[in-house]
Amino acid sequence: MNWLREIARRLGMLVHRRQFDADLEEEMQLHLELRQQEHLESGMTADSARAAARRQFGNVTSLREKSHVAWGWEWFENLLQDMSYGLRMLRKNPGFTSVAVLTLALGIGANTAIFSVINGVLLNPLPYKNPQQLVVMRENDSLPNVMDIQRQARAFSEGGGINVQRMDYTGGTEPVQVRTGLVDAGFLETLGVQPMLGRIISLVEDTKGGPRLAVASYSFWQNFLGSDPHAVGKAIPLGGNTYTVIGVMPASFAPPAEHADLFVSIWAGDPGAAAQRDVHFMHTYWRLQIGVALAQAQAEMAAIDHRLAEQYPAEEKERKTQLVPLQEWLIGDVRSALLVLFGAVGLVLLIACANFASLLMAREVARHQELVIRSALGAGRGRLIRKTLTESALLSVLGGAAGLLLAQWGTRMLLALRPENLARLSGIHMDTRVLLFALLISVLTGVVFGMAPAWVAARGGVAEALNENGRRTTASAMGHRVRKILVTSELALALVLLVGAGLLIKGFSRLRSTNPGFNPANVMTMYLQLPPTRYREIPKQTQFRRELLARLNSLPGLQAAMVTDIPLGGNYVGHAFVIDGRPPVAVGGEPDVQTLSVMGDYFRVMQIPLRAGRDFTSLDRENQPLVAIVNEQMVRQFFPHENPIGARIHWARETEPFQWMTLIGVVGDVKHSGLDQPVDPAVYTTFPQSDEIWRSFMTLAIRTRDMSPGLVEEAKKQVWSLDSRIPVSDVNTMDQLMAVSLA
């Protein structure tokens, strides 16, 4: 326990430093006075008595220091001294200080911001119970299949799925659409997060005809339930029905990949789809039984897939379920992107450090004379190096603090961009690990990059340096060499960064100059969903659409049309189809195309060029021959050697008699799924000729001469003048959608 006593003693010494100094002072003073007294008594004059006593005693200051050394705290005292000296120097040179601090702040800030993202996304465990046991199925599945797997698979202790649908919420001031997670009872159970209030949906309630229950997310609870601690039991109007809130999830909870405001049972939210084995719309998460390896689970799933395919040949012909660990699935290719980014900001930090070292070096050369005098007065080289290092460490810690502020701001900026493929945004924030990281790189920067200047400064002999002619000697020559190395490596680093940035920008500008296939300038878009409960028939939907377009187009200075899914909006529906007169294709093997319904001069509004044939007219309506327009990609892929105009197609799902559609025109290709994505073959039809009641949604595209801010409000007013309970969402300009697609 000797070291314990040693520590206690040293600490005691540190606390009682003042007392110690006073005691020593008094003791020495007494000695001097007694000796002086003795000399006086032997007949010396007062002056010579004092001088003699002092001579005999020795150098008081140095003795005092030696006594301090004995107690083992001289390094601390030196540090304090160096720090106060360093601070004084920094205050005296505000220009130098601010340049150095700013340089480091940029480097450290960028690194800390990226590190906090890496920390949140790669390093922190997922916010679920035992997240390492969670796996995800790459393919979506249907509720009946999920239930079969839950019953049969032994590799999983639990599992469940979710499908997010927009549902109307009419309990607020404006009707809005909320993202509703349609889940089975297993979903929240599997993720294993306890609700903050109330409870989650139980197995017995999750059944056909079960009660309409809702579990709110924290944000829904805040925004729509007024953060009411007694929200449990409240009735809310959702999707035309009334649901009872039974629980509220904590703020930290979000589904791994989905965005959901509310969770309801699939049986309550979409009973039609719930019962269908071939509606593969649930994204499912599973928890591996303890001790079960992924390969084992995968093998069992293959067996289950096989069984299901045999049992339900019509619906489940080609099952090939792939399991992926949740963490891996979420992070995916973001990992390498983040690490590359981290490398890049690391280079930025290195450059900042090299700059910092050069700055220090330049100043040390300027202060050379001062250092020489110090060492002439007896300062050891070690002590001089320590002093310079303390100064650079002070600077770098200041830089680190400024960098931290910068990082906080930078992280917020990063998050504001909402990178879509960064699944774990909510996990990103400054925590202890990030702070430690910032502190570590600050101190390391200061010490490592302050070392060279300090060493160079402390080199060189006193004698030759004191000589005015000797100023340009070893020290400055050394400094010269080190500075050359610094500048060269800085240039090399900058070059690497420049090349990297150049490549990025080239890719970006190529994307930027990509023709999207339409003119995005001055187009406002918004998404409408007709409540299926009140717009159950196509004619009723058509009547609403026709009336809305008429009202909007009567406003001056604008032209409005609608489409099911707007380009770059992230959605489209695909249909399998059959071409008239071609050799028959096996059922289920028909090619897929993007299908979009339009109304009201859509191609003119979006300025999508007509390449052949004719555009839709107002005569292409209900009870008229069915017509369709295709894009050029469709022609290239399916009509390479013939004129598509006049050809006939029908959707593969239909049973006889086939609803033949005649192709009447060809329009230019549109980058529907993203500027960097290939164009899919597409078929456009008109809304009034659609027979799909579920397609009760639409996206308005409104082209104006100038984007006035009142436009959105005016459009909403027109919608609500027709039906005040229709939610309007996803209000964007086409330029905004372009920007998101570029990011």
């Binding site: 000796r35 008081v60 003795l63």
Partner: protein, 109 residues
Amino acid sequence: MHRDEIPAGTLYLLILKTLARSGELHGYEIANSIQRISEDVLQVEEGSLYPALQRMLIKRWVTAKWGTTAGNRRARYYQLTAAGRKQLAVEMSQFERVIGAVTRVIEAV
């Protein structure tokens, strides 16, 4: 009068021996005592007593407490501990061994 610097490494020995002989002394008395007994031959750089005393305090060879001098001044009095006594024996035997060796070397024919 010529005064000799004390041989290196013997300061502890001198202080320990002085305290062993006289019991409780303050710094000035230790310095005087060493000078007097050595008949003014051994000259301590008087101030160097104090860092040495600090080191001895840390090693617990001596203890210190504040008292009053004859002239009614506050002074720190040092006293040998058991460990100090043991250390004195160690230093003595070391010193004698060195002196013996040196003597043999210079008296060798």
